[in-house]
Every structure is written in structure tokens, then in C-alpha cells.
Amino acid sequence: MTTPQLTWSSERTLRIAFAENADETVHRTVRAAYESLRASQLPAILDLTPAYDTLQVTIDPLAHDPTALERSIASLLSEAVAPDHPIPPARTVTIPVCYDPEFGPDLESVGAHNNLSIEQVVSRHTSAEYSVHFLGFSPGFAYLGGLARELWTPRLDTPRTRIPAGSVGIAGSQTGIYPQSTPGGWRLIGRTPLVLFDPMRDPPALLSVGDTVRFQAISRDEYESHRNERRRTT
């Protein structure tokens, strides 16, 4: 592992860059750095934003000397990025997905693009393990790594104006779940009855950085009963 590079991306944000690629090694390092700085509880740190191969630290430059803080962070990092440094074990989250054509209007085009039947698309999607590289863009949206090469499909040429919350999609080499109902250009292959994000829940986001995710196919009936159960409990 090369030494992380620390540069200031404003007078209140320190940018930590790791190696220039997003393989699982760099993901592990970003996560180790994130967990280590989080556990440090340095009062100067207001926020930590992990991504593929960077970690941003937001500070209050009036309350704490930025130069001294940069030194403390660099020294914490030098231990955290060592390959033998322990990190919390990955939690496995199983996400039930109904791959009904109504929820997955692009199942067919994803299959056609890759010469697979719909059943094969579903079995490839449910047989892999994905890791949550980071959450970003919108509340609870997880960037997942690990999509099988034979499912890679380009985005739609024209994005849909409304995608229902819980939709599971594919865009290029990425797969993910829309936590909120938004416009979007991902190819939709199914929908989960789970709520990915609820600001009044603790924790608000279903997924967190470093989780391992598995998708489990459920029937339309199971999807509906899951939804009904949710209605009864909320």
C-alpha cells in the first residue's frame, strides 16, 4: 500500500487520496482509514466522507489548528492503512428482491444485451456477493462493487422521469437500489420491499460502508406480504 496523500481541498476540508484504482484492496484501505478516524473521536472532525479511493475530512478551521490536525490525522492513518491493521468485520445484509417484470421492466434488455435469459439474469444477480464501497449522491444510496461482468449493461439513453423507491437497477458495471423515488437512467431489474432510508429510524440507512450485500429472489406474494407487514408495524 502506498502512503495516503493528504491535500487540502478547501480551508475546511482535508482530502485523503489512496491508490488510483477502486479494487477491493483500496476499498479495504479507505474503510480502515474511515473506521480509524471515526473511532479516534478527534473533536476537530465534523464529518467524514468516504468514496471509492478518497476520504474527505471536514473540520472547523477556527476551532482547531489545521496544521496540527493534519499531523494527527497523518499519524493515525499510517497505522490504519497497514495491511495487518484490524478492521471491524463486514456485516452481511440480505436484501429480498422481487424480479417481477412489472418491477424490472429492463430485465429483458439486460438479458438481450448479454445473451442471457431473464432467469439467468436473476440467478447471476442473486449469486454474487457485493460490497458497499460507500454511500453517496442521495440519502442511503449505496455504491456496490461486485457486479458480474456478464450483467454489465449501459444506462438507458433516455432516463425515466420517475423510478419508484426500492427499485434495483444496473448501470454499466454498477448495481444499486434507489432509496427514494427519483428520476434516473439505470436499467431496472427488480424491487425490494425494504426501506433503504428513513431519517427517523436509527440507524437511518439500511446499509453502511463496508457491508456485504446479497440479493435474494422473492415472489410477488412474498413482496406484497412484506409490504403489508411493514404497513402494520409503522
Partner: protein, 330 residues
């Protein structure tokens, strides 16, 4: 509980405090007052906490009625014809000045004449339920404020109780002039951003030497400029990484976009520079068609300028309690 009724909200009025800090790792952005300086000044003059929530009013004011006696303070953009009361008791509501309002009286805010955002601060703050530690409204995700949305006619918001028996004062004219000068600045200071050194030297020079016009396609998420196109490094796409308030991104088309308070937590366009914290209040008060320049300074200078700006708070008068016979110290 005391309430504020929204008779007419204006064009875009939301509940904002100093933002939802510390949740970017789950994709939750800060939101918060676009001009935190004006919000904090209003709160200080009322004896509130800096973090108390107020109404952020965009360009066009509205009509609000509290159901109990309170004190309000209007800050931020200059407005025209703002007033308290109805009929014969109607009186001016000057900016930067704590003003008493009686239960049932109208608070009317006019149009912004200079600047874009006015803040109606109220004693005790607006007390909508906090979400993730903040009352700030983030409309794109429907989080915070009043039902996660812009206010509508007929909404009622819980507000804090007025601290009784205080004398409230306004800042000195010199302090008000100083705040106005901060808002009027159109040559914004920038520091290096996440990818500054990946841009070609001549593109950085070109950026610093050009004048950019703010466009109508600007909101709390991003402020878009039109001017000399800048060539971004590579193909204009990078791996997604953290964003910052004031970061200036240059997509493939070459026209800069400043990421603002409602921005997504991560983005994938090259960042040429970042506007310094001390100049963000000016950015918040810019209007479409305003012409801006960007000027690089060092990070240390940026911190020094922020420190200097904070001195405004040392000069602000605070409410002073009037002890009464029936009241013990509070």
C-alpha cells in the same frame, strides 16, 4: 406551544438552521442556511442559539402571523416595504433590528431589493421536529424543516417561547455597513480545490482572468455560471468523491458550477477551486446576471479572513435581562 402561521410563504420559503453536519457517510447532505452569517447574526441579536432555525425567504417575501407575543429580527438581503401590524398600527420592519410583535399581528416581508435571501429569525427559533440533529429543509430528499418541503399557505410552525424582560438592541451602523460590504463582494476568493493541479496552468489562468455571469439555472443545489469555457482535465469525468460547499466543478462543457448547500454528498466532475468560507455569504446573495470574478488566495489567508469576519460577533449587542421583583435570575 406557540405557533407561527404562514398566510403566504412567498416564492420559496423554507426552515433552515446551520445544517445537518456529520451524516455524509450515509449520503445525507448538509442543507442549512445559504447565508449562515445572516442567520447567526439574527439569532445572536435575539439571544437565540446560533443553531436555532429561522425562515429563509428567497427573493419574494410573504405574510406570517404568530399566535403569541414574540420578537423577530429580519436579516440578510435588503427588502422593500417589510412591516409589522395591520391598519393603523402598521409600522416598518427594519433589517438587522429586533422588533416586538404582538399575538395575532401580521409580519409582512417585501421583495428582496439587493441580494437573494432574507432571514426571518424569531425569539426561541422555529421548533419543527429535528431530523438527524437539524431542522434544515432539504427539498430534494424531503428531509427536515416542515414536512421536508417549501412552506405553503396555511402551514403552522411551532416556535420557541419569548424570553421575557429583555432589552434588545441593533448593531452599530458601522457593523451593518460591514455586513453589507461582505454581501456586496463580487470578486470571490478561492483556494485550491480537490483537482486544481490536474487542470492545465493556462486553464487556471484563464479561469482567474475571466468574468462569469450567474445564470437563472441556479438554486440551493448548484449555482451555474456562463463565461469563458475552461477545458477540464481528461474527459471531464472522475471517480465519484466527496463534495464541499463552494467547490467549483467544471464539467465537459467547460462552464463552472458552484456546488452549494443542497448539493449531493458525492460527485464525479473535476473541481477547479473552492470558494472560501468567508465569501459564501456573498455567493448566497448573488443574483442571476451578476458578474463575478474568482481570485486564488492561500488556505492560510482564507482562514485569516474567516477569523476576521467572526469579529463581527464580538461587536454585536446581546439582549440584556431586566431583573424584576418577582423573578429570580434566569
Amino acid at each position: 406551544m406557540t405557533h407561527l402561521r404562514i398566510v403566504e410563504p412567498g416564492m420559496l420559503t423554507t426552515v433552515q438552521d446551520l445544517g445537518r453536519i456529520g451524516h455524509s457517510a450515509i449520503g445525507v447532505t448538509t442543507a442549512g442556511a445559504a447565508d449562515p452569517l445572516s442567520l447567526r447574526i439574527g439569532n445572536r441579536l435575539l439571544g437565540n442559539d446560533d443553531h436555532d432555525a429561522a425562515l429563509e425567504i428567497t427573493l419574494i417575501g410573504g405574510h406570517f402571523i404568530p399566535d403569541a407575543d414574540t420578537i423577530v429580527c429580519l436579516t440578510g438581503a435588503d427588502t422593500t416595504g417589510s412591516s409589522i401590524g395591520d391598519g393603523e398600527t402598521r409600522r416598518d420592519l427594519p433589517a438587522w433590528t429586533p422588533m416586538p410583535v404582538r399575538a395575532g399581528e401580521s409580519i409582512r416581508i417585501g421583495h428582496c431589493t439587493t441580494g437573494t435571501r432574507a432571514y426571518l429569525c424569531i425569539a426561541g427559533g422555529i421548533r419543527t421536529p429535528p431530523a438527524l440533529g437539524s431542522r434544515s429543509t432539504h427539498i430534494p430528499s424531503g428531509i427536515g424543516g416542515h414536512e421536508g418541503r417549501a412552506l405553503k399557505p396555511g402551514d403552522t410552525l411551532p416556535i420557541g417561547e419569548q424570553a421575557s424582560h429583555h432589552i434588545y438592541s441593533k448593531p452599530s451602523q458601522a457593523t451593518i455597513e460591514r455586513i453589507r460590504a461582505i454581501h456586496a463582494r463580487r470578486s470571490l476568493r478561492i483556494t485550491h480545490g480537490a483537482h486544481t493541479l490536474r487542470f492545465a496552468r493556462d486553464q487556471l489562468d484563464r479561469f482567474e482572468q475571466s468574468v462569469y455571469t450567474m445564470t437563472e439555472q441556479s438554486d440551493r443545489m448548484g449555482i451555474r455560471f456562463r463565461g469563458t469555457a475552461i477545458t477540464p482535465p481528461g474527459d471531464g469525468h472522475l471517480r465519484s468523491e466527496a463534495t464541499t460547499i463552494g467547490a467549483i466543478q467544471v464539467p465537459h462543457a467547460g462552464q463552472p458550477i458552484v456546488l452549494f448547500v443542497d448539493r449531493p454528498t458525492t460527485g464525479g466532475y473535476p473541481i477547479i477551486a473552492c470558494i472560501i468560507a468567508a465569501d459564501l455569504p456573498a455567493l448566497a446573495q448573488c443574483r442571476p446576471q451578476d458578474e463575478l470574478r474568482f481570485q486564488f488566495i492561500t488556505r492560510h489567508h482564507a482562514v485569516a479572513l474567516l477569523k476576521e469576519q467572526e469579529q463581527i460577533f464580538d461587536d454585536l449587542p446581546r439582549p440584556t435581562p431586566i431583573p424584576t421583583a418577582s423573578e429570580t435570575s434566569r
